[in-house]
Symmetry: C2
Subunit: 196 residues, 2 copies
DNA sequence: GTTATTCTGTACCGATCGGTAAAATATATT
DNA sequence: AATATATTTTACCGATCGGTACAGAATAAC
């Protein structure tokens, strides 16, 4: 049984609101007043429930990769490597070009460059990007074994290329790129697919 | 004739030092103490010589595009569109992978996401990225007229794709991508070139 | 030398940053 | 009802943010 005064807000709803703020302004650009106002709670409640700004950001980041950005993991299970990449990139175009969220990918924009106080956040995001790249590389290694990709394909280079396109689309979306423009980018990018 | 006490520092050297700080930490992440210390001057001298932080950033940005990032304009004057893009992208790989500078492109990292106080800087950077994209598009339009690119090439899509690769390489470089890794990305990206 | 002008150095400004102490409030347990 | 526990609220903390007032110092013009 829970003792004490019950909290008056829903943690998951609050995290969703925090996600919106961090997504739009990045880690450093999201101020605590902006966060608490969006979450509808006051500061001590935030600290009691989520630790501090950094811990909140990481919780929000997990929520982001499991929610809006879940298409990456989904895509990797496609039957062929090419289909996996197409699902991932077109899914990214749809996500990044969707005007109902902040523009761009949170893992890219969160702290691409930052002051020294956010260095650990920056490294965390970098690690997540390379983890995604490695997941793609391993998918390609499997595809080579399956005969799904030419044997002379370099899986690391291919994964790095796909990651590059994905990250570049995020930067483009941070401007004003539309969903269709991003999809055309994917059309172009897929022309580089191995084995013509 | 110059009246009054002469300034004791070299403006251009100071701008180069400021460039290094802004390049590494971005607009918001670069604090005034970090700037003044790197520039070797104190705060009132900075404001007297350059206006304020925003004006200093824009001066530094011009210096960046005319200096380290000058390969873009140079590349556009190559004889063929393909050669122009190759020069630009391989030049970008060399620049972004050079460990003697901060990692990544200042026009991408400077303020990709930021607090509300840096919104105008963010928009300025976005405008510079689209300007570069438009310059490439116009180069491709000319190439189509020259018969240098297939007539069914969409110059806007191609330019957006090249911009995407370039921006994505900047994000990759913000991690720990090496020059060679970035060059392999360019190798892959060029496989998408029109007219196989 | 005197004056006008411009730069340098110190010290400071209000605003905002992330984070917290402490009292008031609301529940579960006894 | 009394107590223990946990959350809310208000008010505040020191640190840092970008920016500046002001006096001292160095030059050119007179």
């Amino acid at each position: 049984m829970a003792k004490g005064r019950p909290r008056e807000f829903d943690c998951e709803q609050a995290l969703d609101k925090a996600l919106e703020v961090f997504w739009r302004y990045g880690y450093e650009g999201a101020s605590l007043p902006a966060l608490t106002e969006a979450m509808g709670i006051n500061r001590p409640s935030l600290y009691a429930a989520f630790g501090n700004k950094e811990a909140l950001f990481k919780k929000v980041l997990d929520r982001y990769t499991a929610g809006p950005a879940a298409h990456l993991k989904c895509a990797l299970s496609a039957p062929t490597a090419r289909e996996a990449v197409e699902r991932f990139l077109y899914g990214s175009a749809d996500l990044l070009g969707d005007p109902t969220h902040p523009r761009g990918c949170m893992v890219v924009q969160g702290a691409l460059s930052c002051g020294e106080g956010a260095e650990s956040i920056k490294q965390d995001l970098t690690a997540r990007r390379t983890a995604a790249e490695n997941a793609m590389r391993m998918r390609f290694e499997q595809a080579i074994l399956d005969g799904d990709l030419p044997k002379d394909t370099n899986p690391a280079d291919l994964a790095r290329y796909i990651a590059t396109v994905s990250h570049g689309m995020s930067v483009l979306a941070a401007g004003a790129a539309t969903r269709d423009e991003l999809r055309h980018v994917v059309d172009m990018a897929m022309r580089a697919w191995p084995g013509r």
